[in-house]
């Protein structure tokens, strides 16, 4: 008797688990309004709270339902894959680089000529499919470079104006590193190569050699092969980062360092990262205490460089959604970049938005980016957005750099960088 009871309970539990999954979904679709609705699959966990609020405001003002779902850090591709299969698929999602355009291009509505497209102030961040139609448009852009703690730099007897190229950066960094014990701080924060930090180097720093090569060869799309002409520069700056630093380079692969904390605690002067660090850093450091300078790595004419500005935050509208949902989504996007509430939220949480009605940002690093470009310096685009099979390619570069740090040869880094690109290009375009 007891056994029977147990088996009945088990069966009931099993059935319950099977059907609870359906419950939530059917409820949501029932409440869907006739005016169409918006489902934004967001990929920035740190912006989730603000986006939920703005969605609520929009619903209150217009009655159009806006659902914002945020994928957990590093799982956007997985979440998008499963969400796209549902009957209530996202109407607004993120397609941030050429690799994503390859995968999701068929799902992207051609935005050219829509009213949101007309609000754009620049076409710089627009991603296009092979046939030239628009796959996605930028909704905010960011800058990266080397963040400097000006107070510490002055304590070491130097000022930001002295740094104009790789040679001046190196001499100051070398001097600080040599006197680290007396100064109480070092030149660079740790360059950790675990997943939480390696993208700063396999992604952002790799932009430098890729950018110079793209200028030489006039890239307009992802090249099938690259030459690695400027990898020496990559080595220059990487050696500088790992030498003029408080931690042993052999421990970078697995050390679990927290460069952000090191910088905030005043343990180092320089920290390579982007404008998205501003909200966190400003908790500890005042606006006049920090600034961002270009990544100098020894290229000719680099004293005329500005910061690297670009974005992986690009909106794509689901071409397979119902027409009324598409219309609702485009209305919502337009509202975000034209209304007072929308632009305010976007600028405060995401950064500068490339739209005509954009207000100024209070982000110091983005101001630096503007100052450089107003002074006539070249803004470096995010060339790394071309990377084929970006995760696999970066994994190879990281593995090779780990070997190099442990005393291996630089040849492997070149192989991973150049040959790896060709291999991944072939794999992505088979």
């Amino acid at each position: 008797m007891k056994k029977k009871l147990i088996s009945i309970l088990m069966a009931a539990a099993m059935v319950a688990t099977v059907f609870t999954g359906c419950g939530g979904d059917s409820g949501e679709s029932a409440s869907k309004s006739d005016n169409g609705s918006v489902y934004w699959l967001n990929f920035k966990p740190e912006a989730d709270e603000a986006l939920q609020d703005i969605a609520k405001t929009y619903t209150e003002q217009t009655g159009v339902e806006v659902k914002v779902v945020t994928a957990a850090e590093g799982t956007y591709e997985q979440t998008l894959t499963s969400e796209m299969d549902k009957s209530n698929a996202p109407t607004l999602f993120v397609v941030g680089n050429q690799a994503a355009v390859k995968t999701w291009g068929d799902y992207c509505l051609d935005l050219e000529g829509t009213k949101i497209y007309e609000q754009l102030s620049t076409d710089d961040f627009t991603l296009r499919k092979d046939d030239g139609t628009v796959a996605s448009i930028g909704y905010c852009y960011e800058s990266f470079g080397i963040i400097v703690n000006k107070t510490l730099l002055e304590k070491a007897g130097h000022s930001v104006d002295e740094i104009t190229d790789f040679a001046s950066l190196k001499s100051i960094a070398d001097e600080i590193h040599a006197n680290a014990d007396t100064l109480g701080f070092d030149a660079f924060t740790s360059s950790g190569m675990d997943d939480s930090s390696s993208w700063r180097f396999s992604g952002h720093l790799a932009n430098m050699p890729l950018y110079y090569e793209s200028v030489d060869d006039n890239w307009t799309e992802c090249p099938a092969e690259i030459k690695g002409t400027y990898l020496d520069l990559y080595k220059n700056i990487w050696d500088l980062y790992t030498t003029d630093c408080a931690v042993d380079k052999t421990s970078l692969a697995t050390g679990g360092y927290d460069a952000e904390a090191e910088f905030m605690n005043g343990e180092a002067v320089f920290y390579q990262n982007g404008s998205w660090e501003y909200p966190t850093l400003s908790e500890k450091l005042g606006d006049d205490e920090m600034c961002m300078i270009p990544i100098y790595c020894g290229a000719e004419g680099e004293e005329n460089n500005g910061l690297c500005s670009g974005t992986e935050n690009c909106w794509a509208v689901n071409a397979n959604a119902d027409q009324k949902d598409i219309d609702a989504t485009i209305d919502f996007m337009t509202w975000l970049v034209t209304s007072d509430e929308g632009t305010k939220m976007m600028t405060e949480t995401l950064g500068i938005i490339p739209y005509k009605a954009a207000p100024d940002s209070k982000n110091v690093f983005l101001e630096n980016a503007l100052e450089y470009s107003e002074a006539g310096k070249t803004t470096i685009p995010w060339t790394f957005n071309y990377t084929p099979n970006v995760d696999e390619w970066r994994a190879g570069v990281v593995a090779a750099m780990n070997q190099y740090d442990a005393g291996g040869s630089w040849d492997d880094v070149e192989k991973a960088f150049v040959d790896g690109w060709a291999t991944q290009y072939k794999a992505a375009n088979q």
Binding site: V15, T81, D85, D106, S251, A400, Q403, A406, D419, A428
Partner: protein
């Protein structure tokens, strides 16, 4: 044949039992539906997808066996297979020998046996990713004294994974062996002792044949676990170190089959998703085949008590 008598509960009355028996499918239905939703459908769908090119499963286009050709031509897949096979074989031997040894010692009525059992079983309750990160700290803490880390050499990664796996699995297999050892009839052991068998002879000729069913199940579990290893692999080495070959391809020397499939599916563009799916089907067939062979081989040695 004697008809079963009513033991008093009305459920067993033929009047009630017959209609229930006739309607058996109604009672089977919930379980059957759950089985179909949770297993049969995804399995068939997965099979079908391995012959398709797709981004999401609703956009699948049938393309024939191209995915299988690509999967088999992929050098990283073959490398992952041999690495996994080597790992599985060594881990099966080590896990089972050590788990049996611990179980044997803990059934010798030593003091604190229950405490030891609990302690040895505990690692099993921790998730693979967490274990991977904890052990990576331990290994790297030691290796950093020699200016290296677990990501630098394939052999470090291999044995690191092995230690982690042993630490996690031995306790679990030990519990199964203890149950097996405790069910060996005392009389048999006593009879062997009276016949003049020493401890070793008793173990080989009486105890082991009698726990053969535990050995079968433990071998099965450790073998399939070895092949399916994923979280620990991802957290501990993620495939590093890589070998960069002259043709531009790279081999992730400590990448096992499951991680290889995951990386193919999500690390590359959608063109490779079908290939990843084909690899997954090949993976399933391999694991099923190997475990069936293993089950047959050990089952035939089991004795009826």
């Amino acid at each position: 044949m004697k008809k079963k008598t009513n033991d008093g509960t009305s459920v067993n009355s033929p009047l009630l039992r017959r209609p229930i028996q006739r309607m058996f499918f109604v009672f089977l239905l919930p379980t059957f539906i759950a089985f179909c939703i949770g297993f049969v459908y995804p399995f068939l769908q997965g099979m079908y997808l391995s012959f398709c090119s797709f981004t999401t499963i609703s956009s699948a286009k049938f393309i024939g066996i191209g995915n299988y050709i690509k999967a088999l031509e992929d050098a990283t897949f073959t490398h992952a297979f041999w690495f996994t096979a080597l790992f599985a074989v060594i881990s099966v031997v080590l896990i089972n020998v050590l788990a049996f040894l611990v179980a044997y010692l803990l059934t010798l009525k030593i003091k604190g046996a229950n405490l030891f059992r609990t302690a040895f079983f505990m690692p099993n309750l921790i998730g693979g990713i967490v274990l991977g990160y904890i052990w990576s700290m331990i290994f790297n803490g030691i290796l950093s004294k020699y200016q290296t880390s677990i990501l630098m050499e394939t052999k470090y990664g291999f044995w690191g994974l092995m230690i982690l796996m042993l630490w996690q699995q031995i306790g679990y297999m030990m519990i199964i062996y203890i149950a097996g050892l405790q069910s060996v009839p005392e009389e048999l052991i006593e009879a062997a002792r009276i016949d003049g068998a020493n401890r070793w002879q008793t173990l080989i000729h009486v105890t082991i044949p009698n726990v053969m069913s535990s050995i079968t199940i433990c071998m099965f579990l450790s073998l399939t676990n070895g092949f399916k290893l994923f979280d620990q692999n991802l957290a501990l080495t993620a495939g590093q170190p890589f070998i960069f070959q002259d043709d531009g391809s790279q081999i992730k020397t400590t990448e096992m089959l499951a991680l290889n499939i995951y990386n193919t599916f999500y690390g590359q563009s959608s063109a490779a998703r079908g290939t990843g799916q084909a690899k997954a089907v090949i993976f399933f067939v391999l694991v099923a085949l190997i475990s069936v062979i293993q089950l047959r081989a050990t089952r035939s040695k089991e004795v009826q008590q």
